[in-house]
């Protein structure tokens, strides 16, 4: 490595990588930067943002109230398309959640140190996305007040749920995922919560953070346990990254609906989920690093890495689209062929081609470094990918359902205002939670980031492999 102090430009040199933390910050300055966000008075800009997202949250509340009061008939569903924006929204949000777990668990296991700056926020995003997702399966049912019947609760009716039903598998998969994600996130937060507790000036903050810091003192023993616990959770979460969306895809794959009934769905869904999740992380991080002044901690290198993952998973998704068509043709089942032709050229062709351009064509721009390193461009593409992934779920669910086996029952689904408002409302929940998180919790894993700073690695200049020492 060059003896000159590392700069962003260094990333251009072959064989070298940009450092994960820029500037000459000390451990203390990093703590100040991150904890400072929590300790400072909220800025008017922040309050305005919170106000905005909370008003959207009210849209969610209103939509749910209307839904429960009147019935799911307020949506645009019919006798043929029984699921539409609801399950589209569910899969969309569950998919977004995937990036967080992938970053925190899989990249951790693979010793991808660049994850440290983004994993906290990404995990938070996961949890909030799962919350948003959970609204849908809960409230899309006709009688939400009996929802608890899906849980295997012993009851006087001696009725178990139907273990053959993929929806039941969903219940287990998503609830497990939510539980593990929250615990994983919380474990990672403990040292940082202790830091904020120690710096707290108000009694309330001191006590509140103190409770959640679980008496963390930073002793070696604590760190030892912490590291072990973290590793275990990472190990537990890793299969979940694959399993959750696999199980979600079973909702479709195990059905008889042409266009749903395909074996490619599990890997295709997982790739798509990671794809959309990373796009959402970029959308959020690009904004957050600017607003919170964390450009030196969440660097272009982090963002570029994520762009590469989007490129990779986007290509996998494109491949899946192609192979679906091939199999539909090769399988020679009339109904399946029709389902796929109908996607491309039927009444919902506009949705299909929106999906293809958003998910397959635009991410290919990330082959160019210019796109991977330009903040506005990557932001734009990340938004496009998010839109495209919503369309993907919409295309899978609605275009398959609206024309299945019996032509007499073919219909055309149109969303109602309540379909749209509920979906918009889930963004209100997501954004509100995320903004509250930014204000009340350290958005970056302070302890972990310190470990990857150049000053944490006195021998770094001796090695090309920073990872080997970074943990010291």
């Amino acid at each position: 490595m060059a003896t000159t102090s590392p700069t962003e430009a260094a990333g251009d040199l072959p064989g070298t990588r940009a450092p994960l933390v820029l500037g000459k910050g000390s451990f203390h300055s990093v703590t100040n930067d991150i904890a400072g966000i929590v300790e400072a008075k909220p800025t008017p800009k922040y309050l305005l943002g919170l106000l905005f997202s909370m008003s959207i949250l009210m849209v969610l509340a209103g939509s749910l109230a209307k839904l429960v009061y009147s019935g799911v008939g307020v949506w645009g569903l019919d006798n043929t398309v029984f699921w539409a924006w609801d399950i589209t929204g569910f899969v969309f949000w569950i998919g977004i959640g995937h990036a967080g777990t992938l970053i925190s668990a899989i990249l951790f296991l693979f010793r991808q140190k660049w994850r440290t700056s983004i994993n906290r926020a990404a995990e938070a995003m996961t949890i909030f996305a799962v919350m948003a997702a959970g609204i849908y399966p809960a409230f899309h049912v006709g009688r939400v007040w009996f929802l608890y019947w899906v849980f295997p609760v012993p009851n006087q009716m001696t009725m178990w749920p139907n273990f053959k039903s993929p929806l039941l598998w969903d219940v287990f998969a998503v609830s497990t995922y939510a539980t593990v994600s929250i615990l994983f996130w919380f474990v990672g937060l403990v040292p940082d919560l202790a830091t904020i507790r120690d710096r707290a000036k108000s009694k309330i903050a001191h006590v509140a953070y103190g409770i959640f810091a679980l008496g963390w003192r930073g002793s070696h023993k604590h760190w030892l346990h912490y590291e072990k616990a973290y590793l275990i959770f990472a190990g537990l979460s890793t299969p979940l990254v694959l399993s959750v969306h696999t199980v979600v895809s079973f909702d479709f794959a195990t059905s008889v609906v042409p266009g749903w009934h395909t074996t490619i769905f599990p890997p295709y869904f997982v790739a798509g989920a990671i794809f959309s999740g990373f796009a959402m992380v970029i959308t959020l991080m690009v904004t957050a690093r600017k607003v919170l002044g964390l450009e030196h901690l969440i660097t272009i290198r982090h963002l570029e890495n994520m762009c590469k993952i989007i490129l990779a998973t986007g290509t996998i998704v494109g491949y899946a689209y192609a192979i679906e068509f091939f199999i539909a043709w090769y399988g020679a089942v009339e109904y399946e062929r029709y389902a796929f032709l109908n996607r491309m050229f039927g009444p919902y062709a506009w949705a299909y081609w929106s999906m293809v351009s958003c998910n397959v064509i635009f991410p290919q721009l990330f082959w160019f470094k210019k796109f991977r390193t330009s903040i506005p461009l990557m932001f734009a593409i990340s938004v496009v990918v998010n839109i495209g992934m919503w369309f993907e779920r919409f295309v899978i669910i609605v275009t398959s359902l609206h024309r299945d086996y019996i032509p007499s029952s073919w219909t055309y689904f149109r969303p109602s205002i309540w379909d749209i408002s509920l979906f918009v409302g889930t963004f209100g929940l997501f954004l509100t939670m995320f903004l509250l998180f930014c204000k009340f919790l350290p958005v970056i894993a302070t302890a972990e980031v310190k470990a990857v700073m150049p000053i944490a690695d006195p021998h770094g200049h001796d090695s090309h492999d920073e990872e080997a020492h970074a943990h010291g």
Binding site: S70, G71, V72, G73, G76, L77, D78, N79, T80, F82, W83, H140, V141, G142, R143, V144, F146, L147, W149, V150, M159, W160, P161, N162, K164, S165, P166, L167, L168, V171, D251, T254, S255, V256, V257, A332, V333, E334, Y335, R337, Y338, L401, R403, D404, Y405, I406, P407, S408, S409, W410, T411, Y412
Partner: protein, 1064 residues
């Protein structure tokens, strides 16, 4: 009779009759019961009868109990009967009978035989009564015009009974003495009676001069006798009849041909060759149930001897749908076609008098010529075994010519016979005009209208409504007419709103009356319930008018006393009440002699309405002539052709639509009679070109809660000169209204859902339908992950014979009535959320939404309902196990367990599951709650529902069978079990029963080589077998296809087949 039932505070109503409730019949354990007649002769009963049915005391709630309370009490008794077992457990009070009517078992239905006049004939019915309220209508197998079947309209009559918009009492238009506002006041029944008596007294003084009675096609001998009696008292009075869709053309046609008006009675069962000229014989005209039943008996493929049916019509109908050959032809060209057939018949040695066919027919197209030649050849080859029928809307000239052809073919006395009219009355649109003229000239100043609604459906140029309005004007007004009008009607409808007096008419299910079928068969009409709003029968009103005191029951008894004779009357009367029909009462045929000169003259005189377009008028499939417009079941029933609900549209052919640049829902302006109406267009494959069909009966001005704002009134175009058929024009008007259709895609897209062969193909390869998918895919049989079910006891299944299904949809309404299926309204239909458990799909062969052959495409109807799959996809995916498989093979929906994920609906390949998106059980008017079947749960919001194979009937039959010790009797009961759709079906296309009982029709059908399963290739193992449609085409018109029938079928494997059938 030991104890007598007493009228308690909750009137026992129809249940007063002590039906032998414990006497099971073979008919599925259901019970035929005698009614009031059982008790006749007992003075105490007579006293009771006076109390209940006496006209002086029409049913009114006991003092202190208003109607609301009465309904609450009725509600309570329903709760008692288990009606209110919805998921929400509504709170209702339960009150026991203080004095229980003898033999009444709560919740145990009793059936009463009755009959209703309709279609210009009468239909015998068995009406199920539950706790004193009629809950279901079935056909009476003993009655020659229903033979156990019904039509959708007949099924829906039940709902009309409970229509909350019915008139609740007499109304009287009061003219102020001096100045002041004129007003309409509600008056009591006594006042109305007093008025009638004094009106009659006044008329008697004048010998009835200036008085006219306008009747509808009532078919009641008692009314006929009452009218005769009235004419004795009022010899100068006139009686005229107007029916918006009556039989006057056929009767006039007989008059031309045979010199006197006669009723034409067809026997399709004897007809080897049937030619229908522009008539919907199997659904809405003639005697449709009888015709359909007789047709079906000759279309049993396996029995052999299939008849051949030719239909030439302008607008597709259910009759055309089941035809072997359907010719689309303008209605105004039917006479030309008939002439061409007459000429062709001559070539085949049939002695058609030459003057008959002397008229030079208009130039026919090649298809039409070929059709005429082929039909003539067939008819000539089946002398005495053929039948030609002309439709109601065809002019008398065509009816006369058709009668002459039948004479020439020797069919008269074989497949068609003529009987005298039941009651000869001047009738038809022209008669109404004459009446109006007479009123205008002050020849008539008093008018009594028994039923009908002429202010709504009189011909457009007969100013009937205007006349009634003018009669309400101040006497000084220049256009005032002196007319005292009395309208007896179930609703305060357009006519009653304008009449001087309105008197509530009893619904047929509340009336003592009688009917005479087209062939003269007599039947009684007995009440199932006391008139809900104190209505009266027509005969009663006439009786009051001539100062009589007898009530409807006494009048009917008197009529029947004369018919049955005094000796042994009670016994015979009770038998008639029990059977519902007087056996062997059909009229003897009249010997007819053809006056061919008159027919020839009439044919020569006929002038077809010439213009750019012809405008054809048909009764609305929902509203009929308007009388069912306020009936939710009918409005929501998709019509057999367009599958449209809650509206009417102008039907034009696809070719005409493309010529005018029209697509479904575009607004068109239809002009005729110098008037025009704007309404949406429905592109109708198979319609004649340059012809537009308008349905009459929607767009009521009467603001009922159902019919308000529904459809467009097309009456302004329907003038005297073109009452059924007119010249006119159609033009695009700009504007669009989405058609509320339940089926938007009519093309099979090559899918083997409908399988169809010709008789020749079937003989060559009988297993084709069963095996075609297997043969084309060559896929090994799929296996299931789950073990197969053993059905050791019963194994319920169904077969549907597509050869027989006309698409008439009687089954759909029967299912709606039986299973408490809610009505959603047009908004629900536009969102494709209609709740019917059973639907009739209509398909053409073709791809990409285009029927193969466009307007020449032949459609097939396919009833679709839950297939009760043995490997049901819905059962697998329900997370709470709310839909499960019963050990007897039913796919059962447990409403109380359903949380409404709707996953089952997505995963149902047949798309037969229906979801309660809203609380459709709320806001049902109190009276309409009485129609609910207490054996079926009323579903609440948020649960899925679907066909249960009438599990309530299954269980009733099983319980009834279990009570029997004798196995043969048990089997008999189970074999008598019928699903609601099966029971209603006029062609007996549906068989239901135990597949494990090889003797049952359903098991025999399921074993037929042409029995196939829809979507069998996805291994869901459906429990319904469809019997492939077998057509019996004439090889002259349709060259025999190669015996390799592959071309006739779908080839799902390569996607190049067409599933629908033969080359066209």
């Amino acid at each position: 009779m030991k104890r007598l039932p007493l009228v308690s505070s909750v009137p026992a109503l129809g249940a007063l009759g002590t039906g032998r409730a414990d006497a099971p019949s073979v008919d599925g354990g259901r019970i035929y019961a005698q009614t009031h007649g059982d008790l006749a002769g007992d003075p105490r009963v007579d006293e009771l009868r006076t109390r209940e049915f006496a006209a002086e005391r029409p049913f009114e709630p006991p003092p202190g109990v208003d109607r609301r309370t009465f309904l609450t009490l009725m509600g309570a008794s329903m709760a008692l009967a288990g009606l209110a077992t919805g998921c929400r457990r509504p709170e209702e009070k339960i009150l026991p009978y203080t004095r229980r009517p003898e033999d009444l078992v709560d919740g145990r239905p009793i059936e009463f035989a009755t009959s209703v006049p309709f279609y210009g004939t009468a239909l015998g019915l068995l009406v199920e009564s539950t706790d004193g309220r009629p809950t279901k209508i079935e056909g009476n197998p003993n009655h020659p015009d229903s033979l156990g079947g019904t039509t959708a309209l007949v099924q829906a009559m039940l709902l009309d009974l409970y229509d909350p918009d019915r008139s609740t009492g007499p109304r009287h238009f009061v003219r102020p003495k001096s100045g002041g506002e004129a007003s309409t006041v509600d008056v009591g029944h006594d006042e109305a009676w007093d008025f009638l008596r004094s009106f009659g007294d006044a008329l008697k003084k004048e010998k009835g001069k200036g008085f006219a009675v306008l009747v509808d096609e009532s078919r009641s001998p008692t009314l006929a006798l009452a009218l005769d009696a009235m004419l004795r008292d009022l010899p100068e009075a006139r009686v005229v009849r107007f029916e918006p869709f009556g039989r006057e053309n056929a009767r006039t046609g007989a008059q031309i041909a045979f010199g006197r008006p006669l009723e034409t009675v067809n026997d399709l069962e004897k007809a080897d060759v049937l030619l229908v000229l522009d008539g919907d014989l199997f659904d809405s005209e003639g005697s449709p149930v009888k015709a359909a039943k007789q047709f079906a008996r000759r279309r049993k493929v396996e029995a052999g001897g299939m008849s051949r049916v030719y239909v030439a019509e302008a607008c597709p109908t259910p009759t055309g749908t089941v035809a072997d050959h359907r010719l689309r032809i303008q209605a105004r060209r039917v006479l030309d076609l008939a002439l061409a057939i007459g000429v062709e018949l001559g070539k085949h040695g049939v002695a058609v008098p030459s003057e008959l066919v002397a008229r030079q027919p208009a130039e026919l197209g090649d298809k039409q010529k070929a059709f005429a030649a082929a039909v003539a050849k067939d008819l000539a080859g089946a002398k005495g075994k053929g039948l030609v029928v002309a439709g109601r809307r065809q002019p008398p000239h065509v009816h006369a010519l058709v009668a002459a052809l039948n004479v020439a073919l020797g069919n008269v006395g074989q497949t068609v016979r003529h009987v005298p009219l039941a009651h000869t009355v001047n009738e038809g649109a022209a008669t109404l005009m004459a009446l109006v003229d007479a009123i205008e000239k002050r020849e008539i100043t008093g008018l009594l209208m028994l039923g009908g609604n002429p202010a709504f459906n009189a011909p457009a140029d007969v100013p009937f409504a205007a006349l009634l309005e003018r009669a309400r004007k101040p006497k000084e007004a220049s256009d005032y007419v002196d007319l005292l009008s009395v309208h007896v009607a179930t609703h305060v409808d357009e006519t009653s709103q304008l009449a001087t007096w309105h008197i509530p008419r009893a619904h047929a299910l509340e009336s003592w009356s009688d009917t005479i079928a087209e062939d003269g068969t007599l039947a009684v009409t007995q009440p199932l319930i006391a008139p809900l709003y104190g209505g009266h029968t027509d005969a009663e009103v006439i009786e009051r008018l001539i100062s009589g005191t007898r009530n409807a029951y006494e009048l009917v008894r008197a009529t029947w006393g004369a018919r049955l004779g005094a000796l042994g009357f009670e016994k015979a009367w009770r038998k008639v009440l029990h059977e519902g029909v007087l056996p062997l009462s059909a009229a003897a045929s009249v010997e007819v002699s053809l006056d061919s000169a008159k027919v020839a003259a009439a044919v020569g005189d006929y002038k077809a309405p010439e213009g750019a377009f012809e405008v054809v008028f048909a009764p609305d499939p929902h509203a009929y002539d308007g009388r069912f417009a306020n009936n939710g079941w009918m409005q929501e029933l998709p019509d057999p052709i367009h599958k449209m609900c809650w509206m009417n549209a102008a039907s034009v052919s696809a070719a005409t639509a493309s010529k005018l640049g029209l697509k479904d829902g575009d607004t068109v302006e239809v002009t005729a009679n110098g008037k025009s109406v704007k309404l949406p267009v429905a592109v109708t494959y198979g319609h004649a070109d340059d012809s537009v069909t308008l349905t009459v009966g929607q767009g009521r001005r009467f603001e009922g809660r159902v019919c308000k704002g529904v459809g467009v009134d097309t009456q302004p175009l329907r003038a005297l000169a073109g009452f059924y058929l007119s010249a006119g024009n159609v033009a695009k008007a700009g504007g669009f209204e989405e058609l509320a259709v339940t089926q938007g895609h009519f093309v099979l897209e090559g899918r083997p859902i409908v399988r169809e062969q010709t008789t020749a193909q079937y003989e060559a390869d009988p297993k084709w339908a069963k095996e075609i998918v297997q043969r084309t895919t060559k896929h090994p049989a799929l296996e299931s992950l789950w073990p197969a079910w053993d059905y050791n006891g019963h194994k319920w299944g169904m077969t549907i014979d597509l050869t027989l299904c006309t698409g008439c949809s009687a089954c759909v309404t029967a299912c709606q009535a039986e299973n408490n299926i809610p009505v959603l309204g047009i908004a629900g239909v536009l969102k494709s959320r209609e709740m019917h458990w059973l639907r009739i799909d209509r398909y053409f062969a073709g791809r990409d939404g285009m029927p193969e052959g466009a307007d020449e495409a032949m459609a097939t109807s396919l009833p679709m309902t839950c297939q009760h799959c043995e490997n049901a996809p819905c059962e697998q995916v329900c997370p709470v196990a709310a839909t499960t498989h019963s050990p007897e093979g039913l796919n059962e929906m447990t409403y109380n367990r359903c949380i409404g994920t709707k996953y089952c609906g997505n995963n149902c390949p047949y798309k037969v599951r229906r979801f309660n998106y809203f609380a459709y059980d709320k806001d049902v008017p109190e009276t309409q709650k009485l129609v609910f079947n207490p054996d079926v749960t009323v579903r609440s919001r948020g649960v899925m529902e679907k066909c249960s194979f009438c599990v309530q009937r299954v269980n009733q039959a099983k319980i009834a069978a279990k009570k029997e010790k004798d196995e043969a009797k048990q089997r008999e009961i189970i074999r008598g079990l019928k699903s609601a759709c099966q029971q209603a079906c006029p062609t007996e296309a549906i068989s239901f029963g135990d597949l494990n009982d090889a003797e049952q029709q359903v098991a025999k059908n399921a074993a037929l080589p042409r029995a196939y399963k829809a979507l069998e290739e996805i291994n869901v193992r459906p429990r319904i077998s469809y019997l492939a449609r077998i057509r019996n085409p004439n090889t002259d018109l349709e060259p025999a296809a190669p015996s390799d029938v592959k071309q006739a079928g779908a080839q799902p494997g390569d996607g190049h087949g067409h599933a629908h059938g033969e080359a066209h």
